[in-house]
Assembly symmetry: C2
Homo-oligomer: 164 residues x 2
Amino acid sequence: MPSRKLRPGEIAAELPTTFDAGLYFIGRLRTPWARREDCPKNSGESQAVCTIELDPRYADGLRDVETVSHLIVLYFMDEAARDILLQAPNHYKRPHGAFALRSPARPNPIACSVVRLLRVEGTQLEVLGLDCRDGTPLLDLKPYFASIDAVPQAIVGWHAEEQG
Amino acid sequence: MPSRKLRPGEIAAELPTTFDAGLYFIGRLRTPWARREDCPKNSGESQAVCTIELDPRYADGLRDVETVSHLIVLYFMDEAARDILLQAPNHYKRPHGAFALRSPARPNPIACSVVRLLRVEGTQLEVLGLDCRDGTPLLDLKPYFASIDAVPQAIVGWHAEEQG
């Protein structure tokens, strides 16, 4: 049985019965949005200053992070359905695959956001560019390297077509 | 006890005794490198064509992926130590925090690589830009949106200084 009522055109997968690996929640993201419905549709629509609270157990991992201008933040979208593969979000004209969307709903609901780092104070990081619910579990922080991560010419064909 | 012998200057964390969430391995990455030691140091150093083999169970999630020029690939670095927070890789002059490095060793060893999509054939995707071991478990595929993911002006201060 799918994890939520399917919309017309949607298809859900039968997920495996066991997991293959485990995740630690290493902190929490503090944002102005208490519920999922309140969140901006994507990080480009938000200029709110948010706080990443790292569990002090991992404090040693922050050495030199303050020299980084932008971070890749991986976090766990713990309210997302994991089984809906063909999805029909209300704001698009037709269904698209989970792997062609940035929707939270996917087999491993891990989001990947690029944020601007404003300040590090102990294990708290002030950043610009998050768009998730307050209290969202943090999975990882990585330095953003323009040389490997920036592809300004990248194109999402179906999206350009829906907008055009 | 740390998961591998620490190098001088390194610090390991005491990890929690239980996981907070689970991951599904949704496919495998096929690359020319059988062992971790053979892999290029980063994706910028590799122009090998690699194949992403998605488990056919998730095939419906690929709808419209063929219209995307670049994908974000999340994969699980299953041979990495998870507890080493302050790290002294051989190719850097001094130790840096795991969250200031793209090293596989981190509490949640999830890599995030941007690849160019060459071709989709069924549940096999030919891509350019992977640098991991053959057989590495796949966690997620996302379309790369230049509007939110491309930050050409990003700076990693400690790295620029070590190179400079």
